[in-house]
Symmetry: C2
Subunit: 200 residues, 2 copies
């Protein structure tokens, strides 16, 4: 049985947003499923000593221009949201809560979180905004608002972050296929080639 | 007249090494020329606060595996040299000195420096080793050894580093095409698409 394609990302990661449009097709073309795994990139930054890209001299201006350009290249809506970056705890906890009930709904929700933040520029850090997004998918908002404050789902997200570090996830997005990690949205073509050829 | 494809790199950059195998074909396919511009990545690191990749937690182990894998993916010789990384002042100064005489020889020399360091694992930091490499291309070794100590060529390399920072080069390799910067060897496909479509 072919393995899954793991898609590790932070909801506040522009490169994660761009990758989110393509990862399922890349997996499906190889007869595999993509499993989305949000985590807090900040916990990885603590290990690597990285700072948010937009704040880094030279890299910041480069990335701002690159993101605009990637929107055009991929024909995907793009706005630089304000504030940016943000803590996406509520969205990530809600994702795992939904995933426990219906992975399809969880993925649709994740797409909508990305589209709301990077497609429309709306701050998705407040739990109320996350609940608004989920409500469009017929998720009961009171249940979601309760879930994101429950220790179980806080712990679930924390465990995802711990797993990310244990497994060598060094940024967002990060793909794991057949035990191989691939870092960056610009590696999706390489992931596709790996799947197609069964590795190199 | 179509513009050139600028290829900015450090001779001690594995991703620069991988890109060096493909950048000329990418440019030529679009009827353009690639111009190679070595610089000292350390001067960019001073701006960005970056550290050599292999020393960074999570990213270090990722890159070591990635480089091995890229060798297989690109069917290009690869060994992790010792020591790594190194200061490549002598090679970069020699490059600019040769480029002033014969850009074709300079590029052949640059390929051979990369092949010696990352293909064979030989430390290319000593000027004597750089002279050995150039000698195979019929470059007089005494002239090269003198040139890499001359203020003119020291200054030429320093000017390249200053220009890199002024123009937003934030890592190695970095391509500049039609005023657009592209960072990373995994962006060469995007550079090719840019050249093919005349931008997006």
């Amino acid at each position: 049985m072919p393995g899954i394609v793991e898609f590790w990302f932070d909801f506040s990661s522009p490169y994660g947003y761009f990758a989110s449009h393509f990862v399922d097709q890349v997996a499906a073309k190889a007869g595999r499923s993509a499993v989305w795994k949000p985590f807090m990139l900040g916990s990885v930054f603590k290990e690597t000593g990285a700072r948010p890209l937009a704040d880094v001299p030279l890299k910041g201006p480069y990335c701002l221009r690159d993101w605009d350009r990637l929107g055009r290249y991929h024909k995907v809506p793009w706005v630089l949201p304000k504030p940016f970056p943000i803590a996406t705890l509520a969205a990530a906890r809600a994702y795992y809560w939904l995933d426990g009930q219906d992975p399809g709904v969880a993925k649709a929700f994740a797409r909508e979180v990305f589209a709301t933040y990077f497609g429309k520029g709306v701050d998705v850090s407040p739990a109320e905004v996350v609940a608004d997004i989920a409500e469009q998918l017929d998720v009961e908002r009171a249940a979601l608002l309760a879930a994101v404050e429950q220790p179980q789902w806080k712990q679930r997200l924390k465990a995802a972050g711990d797993e990310a570090i244990t497994r060598g996830v060094c940024g967002s997005p990060f793909f794991i296929v057949d035990g191989e990690g691939f870092w960056g949205s610009d590696r999706l073509a390489m992931v596709a080639d790996w799947l197609d050829r069964g590795g190199w």
